[in-house]
Symmetry: C2
């Protein structure tokens, strides 16, 4: 079988260069890149990790179960998963559950019959964890604690809630509103941010109202409706905390109704997906470490696939704030 050395030799470069070209990591001159690509084509080379998977009778497929791919957070996340899995020779299967338990169930049945090597679970539904154990496949939770025995990775959402609260306190808010708990059956690590947010602002004598999130991502008008309802029911609101799309909808409503941001209302978004970078004023946002979440989950799932066990049962990643102009 063709090796990476054969390709390097044919292209007249080092093996490291070939692997940089294959992984897309690190700089490679366009001209060199093309020479390597031609060598790969000429020798019909297959990357090693994949060859290894096939050699060990693995399918080389990892399934990623999420609520909805068209949501900016999950599209950036699955994008990162695909890159990270590809680098270790795995292909990514996407499964949207749309908050429907029976969709999740259907996928589990599909996965039971597919030769999927592992499952990364980030949906908002929650079948009994036995359902997952019955698959007898490695499972890693993404922001989901399925069971004591199922390891998971999540951002430090408590810190995220604290950072958001402190930003609105620093900006002098007195009456804040947050878009809080998801209306579904699961309490996720990410829900924690809302409890912390409330605790911190109330400790500063700030009133805090909470709206539930609508678990229906792609019906985008629900975000605009929620924003309108917030401003109608809380004319005195001077601080808002919600995920990127709620924050964007509130900013849009404010600007459309002569409410100045940040003078009259401060807004802090949560997730930090690209949409927050395209708004004016630019959105202050708590940024989830999307790439690292994907890399860690992939490291964990491949470890479980390869050695069938894993040391840590959870990995919590640091979270940060990116200041825009929706706070002062």
């Amino acid at each position: 079988m063709t090796t990476i050395q054969d390709v390097a030799k044919q292209a007249g470069v080092g093996a490291a260069t070939v692997s940089r070209v294959l992984s897309g990591k690190g700089y490679v001159k366009q001209e060199t890149r093309e020479r390597v690509t031609r060598a790969i084509e000429a020798l019909n080379y297959t990357p090693n990790e994949m060859a290894r998977n096939l050699f060990h009778g693995k399918s080389g497929i990892v399934a990623v179960i999420i609520p909805e791919l068209s949501h900016p957070f999950f599209s950036e996340l699955v994008n990162a998963f695909e890159v990270s899995l590809c680098e270790v020779g795995y292909q990514t299967m996407v499964c949207n559950t749309f908050y429907e338990k029976n969709y999740e169930l259907r996928y589990l049945e599909m996965l039971r019959r597919q030769r999927v090597d592992g499952i990364i679970f980030g949906a908002h539904t929650s079948l009994a964890s036995e359902q997952y154990q019955s698959l007898q496949r490695p499972v890693v939770g993404l922001d989901r604690k399925l069971a004591e025995t199922v390891p998971y990775v999540a951002a430090d959402h408590e810190e995220g809630g604290r950072l958001a609260a402190e930003e609105l306190i620093r900006s002098g808010c007195r009456n804040v509103v947050q878009f809080g708990e998801v209306e579904d059956s699961v309490i996720t690590p990410s829900s924690q941010r809302h409890f912390v947010f409330r605790k911190v602002v109330e400790a500063h004598g700030i009133t805090c109202a909470s709206y539930p999130k609508q678990p229906n991502y792609s019906a985008y008008n629900t975000y605009q409706e929620s924003a309108a309802r917030l401003f109608e029911e809380h004319p005195d609101v001077d601080g808002i905390f919600g995920t990127d799309l709620y924050a964007a909808a509130c900013l849009q409503y404010a600007l459309a109704h002569g409410i100045r941001v940040p003078e009259d209302v401060k807004i802090v978004a949560y997730d930090g997906t690209y949409i927050t970078k395209f708004l004016h004023p630019e959105m202050t946002t708590i940024c989830q470490p999307i790439r690292q979440l994907a890399n860690e989950a992939v490291r964990m799932i491949t470890e479980m696939i390869n050695v069938n066990e894993i040391k840590e049962n959870k990995v919590i990643l640091p979270i940060s704030i990116r200041r825009g102009n929706t706070t002062t």
Copy 2:
């Protein structure tokens, strides 16, 4: 094997209700939905189409090859693919090529070794079509004409370019700029819109400048840089045409620099993804029929998988304009 009738009987509903629950199509009372879900769990039922696939020795997997999942157009599109494929019992494998020919090559090698039943190809790279034929798998092009023998589906981009041009003409623009051809080796059906746009505006004595698109989706600052460059090099611009993210970046730049939209500059976006709905003023946009694109491509690929041939060699879908407040 358990049939849909067994599930219906156990749940005390009709088979149609069970299939509504499974497909997520049509209304089903929550209480009924739960009863059906419990029956499915109790009987360990597997949807028919999937059983059929497995029975016929198919993998039940279709690969979707695109440039980048985190781009709003492709995230909404792959989301629609996943739904549409799931309804006919297929699972979706995502492959990001990131405009890298060697990534595409790597995927083809992976797919050659995977039991993938079909491939939907929407990347912007372009290996020789022989590479695809050598896979001996059904392939459907998405906005890509790989070869005479490879059928494809696309939106009516010529009409899209015309609609955008007429909107800016109607709004009284005299100096327009468009973000035009992608800097890659492929001429895609979607490139046509730029030629038509130029032809139509110039026929009305309007000057039209073109900037190339940067084929680097997720480096979001390139959009802002392109917008800044446009306004610096064309201080007299009064009409802009570009994909959603270019349009959003131009709107953001204008608002940040005291340029009024639509009074001083009119903007028409292309694609119509959700981001255009969260801006203020709301963006006028040409909307691609994303769901229909996915449904048609899935219909074509499943037809090719099942009967190994297909009548039409291309399907062009109608495109429409959604007027916001960035034009007059």
